[in-house]
Structures are given as C-alpha cells and as structure tokens.
Symmetry: C2
Subunit: 499 residues, 2 copies
Amino acid sequence: MTQPRSEEPAAGLLLEAFDPQLFRENSESALGRLEKHLSDLSIRGLELIRPAALTRAAQALMAPDSDQVNPFDEERLGAILDLYIRTGIPVHSPGYMGRQFSGVVPLSGVVDFVSSVVNQPSSFYEAAQLPNVAEQLMAGELNRFIGFDPDRFTMVTTSGGSLANLTALLAARNDKYPDYWAEGGSAVAGRPRPAIAVGADVHYSVSRAAGVLGIGEDQLVKLPLNDAKQICMEQAPHVLQAAESRKLKVFCLVASAGSTSLGAFDPLGELADLARRKDIWLHVDGAHGASLLVSDKQRAKLKGIEKVDSLTWDAHKMLFVPAPCTLLFYRNGEKGQGAFRQQASYVFDEEPDIYTDLDSGSKNFECTKRPMIMPLWTLWSVFGRALFAEKIDYLCDLTAQAHQVVEQEPDFDALHRPESNILCFRYRPSDLIRADETHRLQVAIRNRIKRQGNFFLSKVNVDGVAALRVVMMNHQITVEHFRMLLNEIRKVGEELLHG
Amino acid sequence: MTQPRSEEPAAGLLLEAFDPQLFRENSESALGRLEKHLSDLSIRGLELIRPAALTRAAQALMAPDSDQVNPFDEERLGAILDLYIRTGIPVHSPGYMGRQFSGVVPLSGVVDFVSSVVNQPSSFYEAAQLPNVAEQLMAGELNRFIGFDPDRFTMVTTSGGSLANLTALLAARNDKYPDYWAEGGSAVAGRPRPAIAVGADVHYSVSRAAGVLGIGEDQLVKLPLNDAKQICMEQAPHVLQAAESRKLKVFCLVASAGSTSLGAFDPLGELADLARRKDIWLHVDGAHGASLLVSDKQRAKLKGIEKVDSLTWDAHKMLFVPAPCTLLFYRNGEKGQGAFRQQASYVFDEEPDIYTDLDSGSKNFECTKRPMIMPLWTLWSVFGRALFAEKIDYLCDLTAQAHQVVEQEPDFDALHRPESNILCFRYRPSDLIRADETHRLQVAIRNRIKRQGNFFLSKVNVDGVAALRVVMMNHQITVEHFRMLLNEIRKVGEELLHG
C-alpha cells in the first residue's frame, strides 16, 4: 500500500480511482450495456437463481485479496454489470406484469446518474440549491391537480411511501397530542387510547407506523370494505362509534387512493366530511394512485382530494422515475412543520433567512436526503405533463381490456372491475370448488410461472383466498400479451390439477 | 395528444421518451458534463444564489405549456444539467472542507446509474437478486473488522443514518418491552418511564427518534462529556443512577463513533461493559466514524466495537459512495428481526424458502428500497479495501496536520486534538475576549466566507459558543489549502473586527 502524505495530494490507487478518464470509460461501458438492455423487448419474466449459486458467482467476481492494491480490472467490472443487469426483473419486457415498480423513463435515469456523481444532499438549500427550488416548482405543478390552497399547502420529498406515511401520521399525532413528542406515551395516561382508523386493505406500512410511533398495532380500527374493496361509507361511522365505546380515541384515518392489493380508491370526499365532523386527521396513502391526478381522464377517481389533510404520492411508481421519489403533501403547511421538532447547531441555522426558508430538514425525516426530485422535475420540464398522462391512460385502458378478456373466459374469475392498472383474478375451472384448493392452486401457478421465466406476475390474498394479480406498468404490453399470459396460466393450472 | 390504444403499444411521445437511442444521446450529454466537472480541481466554494433568482432561472427552463406535447429539446436538457451541476457544492474541489458528504468515487456513481435504470427494489430477493447477495457478502467483509460472531450477526441496508438509528432504537425498545409494538405506550403504564441515555453531543436524529417512537424527548438522559468530548466514564454510572431515582428506566444507551460536531469517539469497550451490567442495549452511531474500521491505522479508535449491540455505518460518508447507503449491524441477528413485526400477503410469502430467506423487508423500514449496496460492493470487488483505507488514512493525517497548523497560529484556538477528519477551531485574536463576541464573529466569518465562494466550511456550537469546523473529505486537499483557508479567515475576521 502506498503511504499517503498530506503535503501533496494522495497518489497511486486514489489517483486512478478518481481519474476522470477512467470515469468516462466506465460510464461508456455501463451505457452500452444499458442501451442493449433497454432495446431488448423480448417477452421474459425472471431468471430466479438459487441464492447459494448466485453467491458463488458473485464471490468469484470479487478481487481475490481485498487487502492488496487491486489495479482497475475492466473485465471484472464488465462481468459485475452483466450479472447485475441479467438477474433483475426485466421491467421493460412485456412479460413483466407483476409489481408496482416499473421501467423508468430513461432520461430520469440519466438525471439520477448526475445526482449520484454531483452528490447534493437535499435537506438543506445550501447543499442542493436547484433540487430545493425544483421541489417548490414541482409542488406547485402537481398541486394544480390536487387543489389545496396554494398559499397554505406544503410538500416535502422523502425516501419512500412507508416513510411518508410515518411522517404524516407523526404530524397527525403531534397535532392532536401536542405533548406526545416530549412526554411520550404517558402524555395520554388516563385518557382514551389514541387510535388510527384504516381501510381493511391498507398498506402494511401504516400498521407498521402504528407500531413504530408508540400508538400500538392493536389500536388500529379496521374499517370494512364494500364489494369494490373501498371503505364502506355505510359502516364506517358505526365502526368509529364502536371504537369510542371501547375507550379508543381515533385521531387519524388513513384511506387509500389505489390500494396495493386491487388498486381500489376509497371515497375521499365522503371520508373527508366524516373526518372533519369528528375532528380526525385524514391521511391518504396515494403511493400508487395519486399519479392518476395528472390525467384528465382518470382524475375523478380522487374526487374530494382537496379536502384531505395529507397525501403520500410515490413518483417512483406511476410517474416512472427511479426509486425512491416520494412526495408528501399537506393541505395546511404549518401542520407539516409539526412532524419533527428540533434544533441542532451544525445543520439548523439560528436565524432563519431567505436561504434556510427552503430547507426541508425540519419537515422530512432524513438528514442526508437524495435530491430525488431532480429526475421528476427534469422529465416534467422537458416532456411536460402529457408524457405521464399518456402513459397512465394507456395502462388503465389496457387493464380495463384485460378485465374484459378475463370476464369472457369461463375458467377465470375476475375479482373486481379495475379502477386503475391493477387486476386481480383467479384461475378456477369448474371442477375446482373448495376455497382452500383454489387458494393453493393460485399460489402454485404463480410460483411455477415465476420459475418458468416467461412472465412475472404477483399474488395477493383477497378475502383470505389467494388471487393472481397483474400490475400494468409497462406501455409495451398489449392485450395480446395478456392473452398469452392467460394461456400460460391455463396450461400450468391444468398440469397442476391433472398432470 | 395522441390517443393511446392498447391493441398495440403506445406510440408518439412515449416511443420517443423510451427510445434507447435518445437514452444514449442524453447519457453522452450528461457524461461529457460530468467528466468536465470531475476534471475541474480549481479551488472554489459555493456559488450561493438567492432562491427567488434561482427559481426564475429554473422556471425559464420548463417547457412553456406542460399540457401540450413537448418534443424532446436537447438544449433545454443541457441547460438544466448545467444549472444543476453549477449550483451544487463543488465536493471535488480543494475549497470544499465543509460537510460530511464527499465527492464519490466516480465508479460508484456509474454503478448507481445502472441501479437507476434497471430499477431493482431490494427489500425482496426476487426483485433484486444480486443486491441481496451483495449485502450478505459485504456484511461478511466488513464484519471482519467489527468482530461480531459471524454465525450470529446480521446487517441490513437502509436509507440514511437517521433511519438506521431509529430502526436500532426500535429493535431495542421491542427487545426490552415486547408488548410495546402491539399495545403502544400503555404497555409501560405504572412502571418507570422508558428512557434513552445519550452522549451530550449525540446526533439530532437520536433525540428525534425518541420523539418519534413514543419514548419522548424528555426521556433522554444526557451523559456528560470529558475534555475530549467523549462520554465521561467517571460520571456516566452516577448519571444513570440519578435517572433511576427519577423513576426512569434507561433501556438503551447511544454512543457515537465519530460525533458529528468534533468527530470524537466514545469509549465503546467501557460503555459495553457498563451497559451489560445494567441490561441496557448499547447502540453506536458510527455514521461518520465506523468507516475507520477498514484502516489498520485507525481501527483502534473503535476498540470494543465487537461488544456493542448495534451499529449505524454510513457508507455514503467515509466510504465515498452516493447517498444514501447506510449499513445497520446487529451483534445478535435475531434481535435485528425484532424491529418490525408484520405480515402482508402481497409481499411477504406465507412459507419462507431459500429465496425469501434473503428478503430484508422484515428487517428494514422501507418497502421499496434502493439497491444501495451495489456501488459499495462493486468498489470493494474491483479496488479492494486498500482504496478506502488509503483515502481515510490520508484524510485523518491531513486533519492532524491542520491541527498542528492551528496550534502554531496565535490568533487561532484549536478546540480539540482531532480523532478523525473533523477539526473545530476559532479565530480569536488577542483583543477578543468575551464569549458572545467570539460567537458572533465565528458565525459572521463562516457566512462571509461562504458568500465569497472560495472556500466552504461549516460552523458548530461547542460549549454553547460557535466554532469553525472543517471536515476533510477530499483527498485533493493538502495542508497548503488549509493554510490558504486560515489566511482567508484571518482576513475576513480582521475586516469584520476593524473594517
């Protein structure tokens, strides 16, 4: 190992590793591979590799003696990149219908590349000037479709929907129980227990947040769903009433705008009215579905959104940028400042000024935060809203057609009329009647199809019985691809039943 | 807007935006700019722009009518990228000595670029096979320097040090109060209040976590520091005792390995012994300083680390990869599983198998998680440990020399002998005696130097009085650059005092 001296810049290995020319060569090498990857639109699912085998393959790519100086080895890097790209779910392939993450708009990946190299942590204006300005601009653009009072609302980016949901629930907790932050759980000793009402299908991050925040998972009040798997407005008031008589104080209600399981939209306007009557904070987990707001054709599914208190919106789902890029909106900006309350002299300035006004460190959980807004703001600035609206409309339309196809097949059951781009269904030929058999068959079908590697879909339990689930995130998919998937499901199902 | 039809793939704007050839052109354009940026080693600080002016500049770059179809405009993209790069802190310049984020090793940015495009969320093995395997391999590599039992420890990546600290405190809370997750704060009703002991200089994310978790910020027990700003082992037992008599039950103690303010290392071995005697979970916030473990020369500063319960380690600080990349280690892997407790049928499989064994979704907060290990694992695989050790040794050595320089200047006070790469000092000519004057002068110096734009440094309060703070993250800096900074400080200071 060369001995570094600080009278002159470090030499040797460091000079090589930080050499701009090597950076160019490595980038070209990655770029060639990525371009090829993006050009491959063949129909394929996942090549699932046994972890032990993949571990051996990965180990073989590591420099043999990590303690020695290892000069740069182009072949080693190439093999690592190849293995990395090859073993991921091919999100750009028409065979991928399985999850809520998507192939990103390629330009957003390029902007993220810039972020990775220039390294501007964005919780503070001085470290990331343009990202902080872009957040404000993007917030204004998107709020046009939400409809909060432009002078009062606020938006902050954070690292994923789970963190946004936690942050919103924290703002709600601190708003309704101002002493909780300093005193902890004993702030409510002797009073009804704080509780959170949720749709029965709410994302697991919400019950996780209840566990994290000291509310307790047992204090989740589950609101029943109607046939469309939306919160049932006939039953909701009674369930809230019953909770009160069990000495629970529901201070927050979490609705879904695009539930994870089925993409169902809760009736936001009616829930907002109910919440306001009962002085409850209404948070909407729109991680998946809030993006429908940017489409003139889909926006009505979030009718009433302007009346809610807070909204989680994952741009890394239906706005097709690299993960994570989550936007958390508050109708009342001041309350958004209440999630965290602190001072630290090395980051928060004593006297706020025009620069620190734009700091988000007091509104988001992270100290070091990726400038995640930049890929989104750049796409919006370059292509405009039309890019997103066009893709979202295509995907929702495609899913509606897929639903029609399922309806026409006697050996398939559609479980709902899709409201967005998620469709759940079961393969259930007439000779299959018992629920437990149906359940096991769907699980077995999903696993076998995953292993065969032509398609990638997911499964979800609906009313306790497994269902097959497609999430249409890729505009390269046509209804013809979906028919091919159904044929493969039927074939696999028949093999499993009779083979 | 073209009307999308789902009988054939979407056309028009989408075809253009997803065109691999356009992706190549955009990437080349970004790459050229980044290469130039990395090649510019001129001495400069930050060009701080008034937010209103920057907002106007950014707005002018947005497509004029977002609702119209905007065909791709190369010039617009170029101007956005130029503005983005120009307005960040030039972390590769020798003028940057201000914060704990650094210029990344360029190759790690390239790998992060691949992550941005291939989009493999890494909480689940099936979605990100290689990242999950790489996490295990990297955990093993780094644990060689920690020394936990290889068969028992576990490591999980998470989005930043604040989230890692929260997760570790949650594991501690759930370990010591198993009913807390389900019951919330009432699980401890009638018992001594749960409390967390911290070094008085602990990072703000820890007191934030106490507020978040329902422990309450008031239940932080602050342990006094010695002259070196480490937790004082003479006083710690008495302070813990005093807390008990105030009906507090300290269940967790948080030490720092590299405090944010001064880079001080708490005595981990002694703290571990104390914690074990009192059945307290010992968490170490090594966000900044854990990386010193990979250097043979620096490792001793974390003596005793093998006895602690959990450790936060930010690879995006002293391992020089894009943010965020935080590693959270647990000595006892089973307890690391206790931070979160849940099932969700759409992500967690009912029957664990060899594939789901590698899922991290039950151990980390995020559902969608960036495959943040890949840049680090690739650097380690290609260059080996020597790259990191060489850079860390250089930076610590440089900081020690900077300290000597300050000691030799009669108008400067060094506030400590640096243990790592952070040095705090004050400009205090002999005619400046009162503490409040000294405080105001440091703040004013820091602000003016920031605005002048030749150097970027930070400030921190030490014993209630502002100090100037340099963090040496850039191996392009020599002691000569530091002398230049001191000269500029002196000049600015004299202007402020007498000008």
